[in-house]
């Protein structure tokens, strides 16, 4: 009888086949190490939810020229930002012809398709993809992490390093005491629908050609006074329409997430964008938005944490997948170096932190470290400001025989009715500071 412990011994085990885990497994496998990528889905990505915009640079680092073969929806050439009041809208946008050409800039994806393709790349690089398997616990010996316990018969698996890429709900990091209880101010709940729509209609409506795409980020009325934002992204023959709000606000207001999305879809301005579409999938998922200050411990003896499990999301820029992929790749690099030295101690694995510090991941998270708390204190950014700005714009653009001087006075009144001028200046200054 061969010793199961030996037969099933790997250089690394990665828990979770999202962008973080797959990118880690891909990196480690490419270096010729024996790595297992374990996921509970029927196939990698089966249950994954994302807006979602994928950024080129992070994927490119793993797979050059991926846009030639990966299952992408559209390459984004235009990004719009909308400030909604209850019946009007101010929009700012940017469109560039440069983004219409290879290598492109960012892409919309449907994660179920993309993740399973990406896992296929890790498979080809040599990783063992183990699906339909839940990791129940981490095995420790003398304070070191040495393996995982799965729900399979004879389900223990051992490795020199275990990487936790199990997403926002990382129970494993919690079991290891690497992070504390959840704080619902650090979590956003996002609900999303995929709405089928014929290609031609999408291209007409958003002024696109072929596989070009557009995104709209929506601030204001849609969040019903809570801290949150909505989005509309174009896929090939569907739109991703969703909204995310801070969990603590949802708990306080007792608004049901599904109703929030329904109301957003019924907003007169948004209704136009999605009319003629057929809802085909509904999903809900958490986003870790606590930022740098809310990050858990990300390395220990025989263990690393990456992606959402490590709170690596830049909520303001709606970036998550790229931080996940980059942290996964750097965790992989750390494992390769540790294997060369044969040292998997906490000290050796702290190299991961250094690599992250040198990358945009920790630089960006640090830069915005005060933003989550700041925004929590100023929920008016999501309600009062969009409303008064829309009112002011209405006034400015309505030609009704009122003299321009009188208009200016009226606009000033609208602006200061809900907020004193001094407060507006203070808010602006503090916000500027919070952006680092």
């Amino acid at each position: 009888m061969p010793d199961i412990k030996d037969m099933n011994k790997f250089d690394a085990i990665i828990v979770g086949a999202g962008p973080a885990g797959t990118s880690c497994a891909h990196t480690v496998a490419k270096a010729g190490l024996k790595v297992a990528l374990v996921d509970r889905g029927t196939f990698p990505g089966a249950k994954n939810v994302m807006g979602g915009v994928l950024y080129r640079h992070a994927v490119e680092n793993a797979i050059p020229d991926f846009w030639k073969e990966a299952p992408l929806e559209r390459h984004i050439i235009e990004q719009q930002y909308w400030l909604l009041s209850d019946d009007s809208n101010i929009s700012i946008g940017h469109r560039s012809e440069k983004f219409a050409q290879e290598p492109y800039n960012r892409f919309t994806v449907l994660r179920a398709k993309f993740d399973s393709w990406f896992a296929g790349q890790a498979d080809s690089a040599g990783a063992y993809i183990i699906s339909k398997t839940v990791v129940d616990d981490v095995i420790t010996e003398n304070g070191r992490v040495v393996g995982i316990k799965t729900d399979r018969p004879d389900g223990n698996l051992y490795a020199n390093v275990i990487v936790l890429c199990d997403g926002v709900n990382s129970l494993l990091a919690q079991k290891l005491g690497m992070r504390g209880e959840f704080d619902n101010r650090h979590l956003a709940l996002a609900v999303k629908e995929i709405i089928s729509m014929p290609r031609e209609k999408i291209e007409d409506r958003f002024n696109l050609d072929g596989d070009e795409g557009a995104t709209i980020d929506i601030y204001g009325e849609v969040a019903q006074g809570m801290e949150g934002t909505g989005f509309i992204y174009t896929n090939k023959d569907s739109l991703s329409v969703g909204i995310g709000v801070i969990l603590a606000d949802l708990v306080k207001t007792r608004v049901r997430p599904y109703d929030l999305l329904e109301q957003m879809k019924n907003h007169p301005v948004i209704k136009r964008m999605i009319s003629g579409g057929e809802p085909r999938e509904y999903m809900a998922h958490m986003i870790p938005e606590g930022g740098y200050k809310a990050m858990p411990k990300i390395y220990g003896d025989g263990v690393l944490v990456a992606g959402d499990a490590a709170m690596m999301v830049n909520g303001f820029h709606r970036e998550g997948s790229n931080l996940a992929m980059t942290s996964g790749r750097l965790a992989g690099k750390t494992i390769i170096e540790a294997t060369e030295k044969g040292d998997y101690s906490k000290n050796a694995l702290s190299r991961y932190k250094d690599l992250l510090e040198d990358s945009f991941v920790l630089k960006d998270l640090k830069k915005y470290k005060n933003l989550p708390a700041h925004i929590s204190n100023y929920s008016e950014f999501f309600s009062t400001y969009p409303e008064i700005l829309n009112k002011a714009a209405d006034e400015f653009l309505t030609i009704d025989g009122v003299s321009k001087k009188e208009k200016q006075r009226k606009i000033r009144k609208i602006l200061t009715e809900k907020k004193s001028l001094w407060n507006i200046i203070k808010d602006t200054y503090k916000s500027w500071r919070a952006f680092g």
């Binding site: 196939f43 399979r152 004879d154 698996l157 089928s196 057929e278």
Partner: protein, 288 residues
């Protein structure tokens, strides 16, 4: 005395093959539970639809592995399909099969049940040349075609005992090359003894599929099946692919919804009155 014993033993071994070789045929099908219908054309959207191993075939795999565990031997899993059907073979390995063979070639594409059973039976012949096959197991039918013709087709071509809708394997006697099974019929069960080699198709109720062990999953993750294409098999090209498939699909349509039944109300009426009403209706509708 001692010599005599050894002689008996030798004779025993010659008569009784100690190992069984089981071939399980499986098919990769679209996961219709995740099916989406194109609202415009009302057809199935196949793009991006995940594939699974035909649910009946999972029970075929399970039964193959159970028989192996009880009687000893080996299970070979066979599938015909596109190159991606390698995933189905890997699933077979994760369920405990020992070897897998993928039959794939553009020339096989578009095969109907007649052509498919030809390709599979030729492949089984070849497997049998290497290692004698005692039993072939298929699922009752596939969920995407629902024909239930491939298994019987193989049995016919290879002259195997044909055991369809098997719900229980009672016993196998390797010495006598015979097996006893229970078949699920519409009005009951039929117990049949058949000579081996045999082919059986199984219903879902035959067993509960197991949750594969982690070590089998790991073995399956990197398993590379033997790949047999037209060059390897050298089949009669008039019998495979579209050319070898006389079946054409005229039309696919959803069956008309069942009409709601009629409920006879007995409010305020005696049972006799209700019975009379019912009788009248039945006669009216020419049921009796």
């Amino acid at each position: 005395m001692i010599e005599c014993n050894i002689d008996i033993l030798k004779k025993d071994i010659a008569n009784k093959r100690l190992d069984m070789h089981i071939v399980v045929c499986i098919k990769q099908v679209p996961d219709t539970t995740q099916a989406r219908i194109d609202p415009k054309t009302n057809t199935l959207i196949r793009e991006g639809m995940p594939t699974i191993v035909n649910p009946y075939d999972l029970h075929a795999l399970e039964e193959g592995v159970r028989i192996k565990e009880e009687y000893g031997g080996k299970v070979t899993v066979l599938t015909m399909g596109p190159p991606q059907a390698k995933d189905a073979i890997r699933e077979g390995i994760s369920h405990g099969c020992d070897e897998g063979i993928l039959l794939t070639d553009r020339a096989f594409a578009g095969s109907d049940t007649l052509a498919t059973s030809y390709v599979l039976s030729e492949a089984i012949k070849r497997v049998d040349l290497d290692e004698k096959v005692d039993l072939v197991i298929c699922g009752k039918q596939s969920i995407d075609g629902d024909t239930a013709q491939v298994g019987p087709g193989i049995a016919q071509r290879l002259d195997l005992s044909q055991l369809t809708y098997v719900i229980k394997v009672r016993s196998i006697d390797l010495k006598k090359n015979s097996m006893i099974v229970e078949r699920q019929l519409e009005d009951g069960r039929q117990i049949v003894e058949a000579r081996m080699p045999a082919l059986m198709t199984v219903v879902k109720e035959i067993n509960e599929t197991r949750y594969s062990s982690l070590s089998n999953l790991i073995k399956a993750a990197k398993y590379e099946p033997a790949v047999w294409n037209q060059e390897v098999l050298g089949l009669d090209t008039t019998k495979i692919g579209l050319k070898g498939s006389p079946t054409t699909v005229r039309k696919i349509f959803a069956p008309p919804p069942r009409e709601a039944g009629e409920i006879i109300n007995n409010e305020g009426e005696s049972s006799k009155e209700v019975a009379e009403k019912l009788l009248k209706l039945l006669i009216e509708k020419e049921v009796i």
